[in-house]
Amino acid sequence: MAAGLAAASVVLITLVIGVRGIAAMRTTSDFLVASRRVTPLLNAAAVSGEYLSAASFLGVAGLVLKDGVGALWYPVGFAAGYIAMLVLVAAPMRRSGALTVPDFAEARLASPRLRKLTAVVVLVIAGLYLVPQFRTAGLVLSVVSTTPYWVGVVLAGTAVATTLALGGMRAATYVQAFQFCLKLVLFIVPAIWLVLTAGTSVRDAAVEPTEYTHFPHDTPVTFRVDVTLDVTDPVTAFTQEGAPVALSEGTHHMPADSTLVFPEGARVPEVGGISQPGGPAWERPLLNVAGAGYPLLGTLAVLIATTLGTMGLPHVIMRFHTSPDGRAARRTAAITVALLSVFYLFPAVYGVLGSVLVPDLYLAGATDTAVVALPMQVDTGWQGTLFTALLTGGAFAAFLATSLGLLLAASGAVAHDLAPAGLGRLRVTVVALASVVVCLALFAKHLDAGVLVTWAFTVAASTFSPMLVLGIWWPRLTAAGAVSGVLAGLLASSGAIAVTLFGPGISGWQAILLAQPAPWTVPLAFLTMVLVSLRGRPPAWSMPAMLRLHLAEDRSASRQDRSLTVRRTR
């Protein structure tokens, strides 16, 4: 209940900020000047606040519990993305004056066609990124209180859509920077408390895991999604009312929202294709994508997607515009690496503690709730309740911060790039898009947040990343080349994801290349862009168009608040 209140209060505060703006901001002399004097540190905190989503707050620890220590490659890639951003994109993107990737497409290549195509890609990326946010909000609410899953999803969607439709997120640089500090504290303090309170035996078990083969005590398992159990030793479990349920050897289908209590000492049933927490495969610090083996290929696939995908995330790239000039944008990226690095030291703590304290969550299909489930395992008194509430609040802060930015980016893409005359009103678009995402999230309960988000990164890495990198560093890129490369990357990556979701089961290395297609879709997009561009001729202004992205602003001029901006007139 307290956790529900914590979530409600975070939602309410966001609503209030959205509707009223912050009182403190209204009294400062001139926020608009301030926004162009945002220091790199403040902006980096805002970037991190926007970036740390439910996937980072809950998803990574959940994946560690489910897939093993190798899942820690995800946050490594998430942080490494900002090195790529620092080297390749930050300063030139700021100097282009473009605020979004569709803007950049038109500014660098003068192609309205490419602008529309990139707006479609923004929608795909935002969709893949938003669905897990809403899903995780619903799942967490259903675990900490007793509301059904759909209620949480609808509530989350309503909160985000209302906030945006009523006023956007005002004074967002400060809000997002504050959100980052909030998330950092709400993530680190409970982690330290958990480690200190858990006791020596749990700490020892966490660093020396044993395979989860037998239930150490009577364990109730509430299946959050449809789960197929593979029973090797016949066992008699009980329903919550105490009626015995005999599970014979073989597979048993468990419907969602049913609960079984497994007796102490019984052998843990297996869940198809997932290694048991604590087993030898679980301990290996490499990724086993799609249960297919080939750990190096799986790790590489996730690294490429997360590192290169970061450059093309529509809600993040817009933040760099708040920097006064290219130099400050570059500093922002560098500081972001440091801020994220602090945060990403801690998912591992939740993951390994979860494998000891709540390993049954992997049976329930609810590993994403491990972070919020942990405090009650350590302390059932007020402390446990308090820390559950803190973590739930942090998870909602993470979910809201990312969702607001993404939904606004997606609505902007529809209302201004795709259908400038048609859908017109931004508010209508926001509500319509939020409804679509809520509907999608209702059917996505069984998909892990970390996996879905990585798909968003994969699409970004296969479309925007080649377009930005070649647009900024290769003068010969033509509009036709960019269009065909983005199209090839979009079709290939979303096609592979669709096959994974709806297609036949495939095993071996082909399964990895379908589940995490970045290792071939990214080179495909780059190659298509280069080859098609080489067949055509870049316009005469192509070279100056590229070079001006690398021209440092005159620093005495930028101190007077001037900056290079897009070559467009009103």
Binding site: L86, Y344, T565
Partner: protein
Amino acid sequence: MNRTPSGKRVAVMSPQTRLARSRHRLRGQWRMPRLDPGDTDRALRAYLRQRRRGAVALTATAVLLLGLAVLLALAPALTEVRLFGVRVSWLLLAVLPYPVMVGLAWWQLRRAEAAEDDPADHRTGRADGHIGRAAAAGADR
């Protein structure tokens, strides 16, 4: 709401909101990018220098991350070795990459800024050499 010195009320909002609401005002005729001859030389030198330095930093990052993955794949014995009671292979993945990446980012930032600070590049003419700031008002506000 906020007031500019002239007393006009201005909505205070995030760059995203500002952008989403004002982009339709920004759309206009696309103008061909132009560079002064002096700026072209300066930009070309900056571009080549940044490209060289950037390539080195990216290679270093790739070698670090891929090297770590290969090391963990080829040396499963690292899982048996303990440091402070924790498996070395876990520490290598959960802790080591972050300080190294922060170091790399810092190093590359220094080099990129040093490349920009080359005195040979400093503009000799007047400070107002902007390529185009016609839309500055719309984009920044």
